[in-house]
């Protein structure tokens, strides 16, 4: 096996649309890269951006955030808030020197199984090109994580 770099990718998805969409990818047996692991949230509105930083600090090379399409949010407006917050946060991150190309935002509905697979594959490809996010891991040598395990 050639030693191809495999990025670690965390996906933050909402329960109602993208989680269900990813379920549909499964039911449809559409294959995608196993690098991506999903964490379920009630709504993209719940995702606070320190979580993304936490993921980078813990070795993620890329992050996917995905929820319902605009106007289809289960909670009606949660995804708008997520989006709006992201706009603000993104410029802040860029200012701090975080590589925002490593954060992919998307909308995947419960009916878009194929889109989920495609999103994962193209994102992984992109992250692979960007390489390991050592830069951040270096900066954020935070060891508190280890404590968490012993809680």
């Amino acid at each position: 096996m050639s030693e191809k770099f495999e990025p670690k990718v965390v996906a933050f998805v909402c329960n109602w649309c993208t989680y269900a969409g990813a379920d549909l990818t499964g039911t449809s047996r559409i294959k995608y890269a196993p690098n991506v692991k999903i964490i379920r949230f009630p709504c993209t509105g719940r995702i606070d951006f320190m979580l993304l930083m936490k993921a980078f600090a813990n070795g993620a090379d890329g992050i996917i955030v995905s929820g319902c399409h605009p106007n289809d949010c289960h909670y009606s407006t949660g995804n708008f808030h997520a989006r709006r917050r992201w706009m603000v946060f993104k410029s802040m991150l860029e200012f701090m020197g975080v590589d925002t190309r490593r954060i992919v935002f998307s909308w995947v509905s419960a009916a878009e199984g194929a889109k989920w697979a495609q999103l994962v594959n193209t994102s992984v490809e992109e992250f692979r090109k960007l390489g390991s996010y050592d830069a951040y891991k270096q900066v954020a040598k935070l060891n508190i994580e280890k404590e968490v395990f012993n809680g």
């Binding site: 670690k8 965390v10 989680y19 269900a20 990813a22 379920d23 549909l24 990818t25 499964g26 039911t27 047996r29 559409i30 294959k31 995608y32 196993p34 692991k37 999903i38 964490i39 379920r40 949230f41 009630p42 709504c43 509105g45 719940r46 995702i47 606070d48 951006f49 979580l51 936490k54 993921a55 813990n58 070795g59 993620a60 289960h74 909670y75 009606s76 407006t77 949660g78 808030h81 997520a82 917050r85 697979a117 994580e145 968490v148 395990f149 012993n150 809680g151």
Partner: protein
């Protein structure tokens, strides 16, 4: 040390074909805090569930992770089993090894490794789960129906017939709404009053319905199942109990020349009046603005003639406070008046009328007893021009949307006119004929073919009066925009349907959202068309957008079912995954600093202000508080609060942060 049980499912071969299930179980058994770990062919089968139940008891487990299919599939199953084993059901989590792993990846170590990562993540999460109790809220089984048009009537009767109490609040002196003004109704041409009046009477007589007319909602507090509403009963200046509805007062009242709202200004009423003969309740009210006793201190004729001494000049508005469990908003719509249209004369030409006025002219009980006569001189018009889309589909001056009902009622008007004035000629200027509905297109075709309605495709540029005729200046776009000028005797504008007056302030009182046009907004345009974003408040009829009668009535029945479902339990059980603002010891009380930035982001208006008081009752601090009855658990506020003062059960900060760490780090 935690004692977690891990159960890895093969799903026949659905999982085991690509994931080495035994290995996953074996690795998991070494995770810190895991007391028991097995794999099994079908976890959801009876024996599978039994394994969990037994293990909880035998191994004294305090948390369960099932690595199997999607939680969207079997979470309820395994939570039930967990509960049966004697643990709080919310101490069970599922790792999605099938939809998110075995089915989407090839067989191999990488796939098995991913499965292990997913299980580890959930094991770490479940360690931080806390027992949660479903939230129970009591339900007051009385519904409030606001607005007594056909939608409100239907909703009230449907709810009342399920055995629950209904309070109906109607702003006007009578219920009936717009439908009571209509002559005949498309697409069947049955008489509007004939089908509506019996239902109005039924409302008044139904033992489960309390009717307040001439009343409005003043304010609303509380949440689903537990609302408190204040109703203002405007003074009618009569004692309804004493009044027999004999009508003597109305006949004798000397102030008679008040344009009747019900007749759309085409007829008159007295200062003490019943809006129309079939009104429910059939008891008069005094219009204080026009009664000479109220305005000038002289008269009291009605008081003198009333055989039961029912007149009460000193009556004042009354405020009622009642408890209710659910609300159906049915406040309907309105139409633009002819004065809205400068190019059609700003409403000054008497013979340029709107659709509702035409309904009154065509109504057998209307001011002309059903004869089509023009308002200016009472002559029977030989040529009528109907102008469709008046103010609709007009972003420049009117509204952008299509009002939906006007194509149909215009075809109806042309038909009714032809039925009444055989030699008359009806012209209809239109842009498109929108007749999507059961028997609608057929209806329009009938108007064109049988009743010779002359449809001309084009918008009218101007209408002006000349020698007693109305000159209508239009163009026929199907003939290369050829100019067309018609000398009409009467012009009927199919004016746009707009939000009912006061809809915006009512929406604000009820904390429900409304759209840019001030129509009430549904929770989801397709899947929750009769729900609002506020739990326990529903919508029906033309208060959402212009709707015809069949649609209004279907929506009302839909809303009634929602209310009945809500009332089918004594208590509401709600998902306990709600947000809460932390409370700590004094003097801090909470890390909340009271910035209330969270308040506007909540889609459900669940965030309230709470004053923390000292023993003397003095406010020390104002902090946010989340009403668990309203919170739907989206978590938006949690992510927003910079002080981390809010957290959400089931997805606490601690839980989700741990998940991130566990997902990315092996032990």
């Amino acid at each position: 040390m935690a004692r977690i049980g891990v159960f890895i499912c093969h799903c026949g071969e659905n999982i085991s074909a690509t994931v080495d299930c035994a290995k996953v179980a074996a690795v998991a058994s070494n995770f810190p805090g895991v007391a028991y770990s097995v794999d099994y062919k079908y976890m959801c089968s009876d024996p599978g569930q039994r394994m969990i139940i037994d293990a909880i008891k035998e191994k004294k487990l305090d948390g369960i992770v099932v690595g199997s299919c999607s939680p969207r599939m079997h979470e309820p199953t395994f939570r039930r089993a967990t509960a049966e084993g004697g643990l709080n059901p919310f101490l069970c989590e599922m790792a999605n090894l099938r939809e998110h792993c075995s089915w989407v990846h090839e067989k191999g170590d990488v796939t098995t490794a991913k499965a292990i990562d997913l299980v580890r993540t959930l094991v770490e999460k479940v360690k931080r789960n806390t027992p949660l109790l479903p939230i129970k809220v009591p339900v007051t089984k009385t519904a409030l129906v606001i607005g007594g048009g056909v939608a409100g009537i239907q909703a009230a009767l449907d709810i009342a017939n399920t055995g629950h109490k209904v309070v109906m609040v109607e702003r006007d002196p009578s219920i009936g709404g717009h439908m009571s003004q209509l002559s005949e109704t498309f697409p069947t041409l049955d008489c509007s009053q004939c089908i509506l009046t019996p239902r109005m009477v039924e409302v008044a007589q139904h033992p489960n319905i309390t009717l307040y007319t001439y009343a409005e909602v003043e304010s609303l507090d509380g949440f689903v199942g537990n609302f408190k509403v204040k109703i203002r009963k405007k003074a009618k200046s009569i004692n309804e109990k004493d009044c027999t509805g004999c009508g003597l007062c109305c006949t004798k009242c000397p102030t008679k020349k008040i344009p009747s709202e019900f007749e759309q200004g085409l007829g008159f009423r007295s200062a003490i009046y019943v809006p129309f003969p079939q009104a429910v309740p059939n008891k008069p009210v005094i219009d204080k603005e026009n009664c000479t006793y109220y305005t000038k201190g002289k008269c009291r004729v009605c008081e003198k003639v009333c055989p039961t001494k029912a007149i009460r000049f000193d009556q004042e508005d009354e405020i009622l406070e009642i408890e209710i469990g659910a609300i159906v908003i049915c406040t309907g719509f309105n139409i633009l008046k002819t004065s809205f249209f400068p190019e059609y004369g700003y409403g000054v030409y008497k013979d340029v009328i709107d659709g509702l006025q035409f309904e009154r002219l065509a109504s057998a009980s209307g001011p002309t007893l059903g004869e089509i006569r023009r308002p200016s001189d009472g002559k029977i018009p030989q040529k009528i021009v109907f102008i469709a889309c008046a103010g609709s589909r007009d972003p420049a001056k009117g509204i952008e949307y299509c009002s939906k009902i006007c194509c149909m009622y215009t075809a109806k008007h042309a038909m009714l006119y032809k039925h009444k004035v055989h030699e008359g000629k009806a012209y209809i200027f239109y842009m498109d004929i929108r007749a999507g509905g059961k028997m609608y297109e057929e209806f329009v075709r009938r108007a064109i073919v049988e009743d010779e309605a002359q449809y001309i495709r084009g918008r009218v540029s101007k209408v002006y009066e000349k020698n007693g005729k109305l000159i209508v200046v239009g163009a026929d776009t199907l003939l290369g925009a050829m100019p067309v000028e018609i000398e009409a005797d009467m012009v009927v504008l199919a004016t746009a349907g707009i939000a009912s007056e006061g809809a915006e302030s009512l929406a604000q009182k009820l904390h429900v959202s409304y759209d840019a046009y001030k129509f009430f907004a549904e929770a989801h345009p397709k899947l929750k068309p009769v729900e609002t974003n506020t739990a326990g408040i529903f919508l029906a009829g033309a208060c959402q957008a212009p709707k015809d009668i069949p649609e209004s009535v279907s929506a009302a029945s839909g809303a009634a079912v929602k209310v009945a479902a809500l009332f089918s339990n004594d208590e509401l059980t709600r998902d306990p995954m709600v947000a809460f603002v932390n409370r700590t010891a004094p003097p801090v009380f909470s890390t909340c600093v009271g910035c209330f930035l969270c308040q506007p982001v909540c889609p459900y208006q669940a965030i309230e202000k709470e004053e923390i008081k000292d023993r003397q009752g003095k406010t020390i601090k104002t902090v946010a508080r989340i009403n668990p009855g309203l919170c739907q658990g989206c978590g938006t506020c949690v992510a927003l609060c910079r002080n981390k003062a809010i957290d959400i059960l089931g997805y606490t900060n601690e839980q989700v942060y741990t998940e991130v760490v566990a997902l990315l780090n092996e032990y």
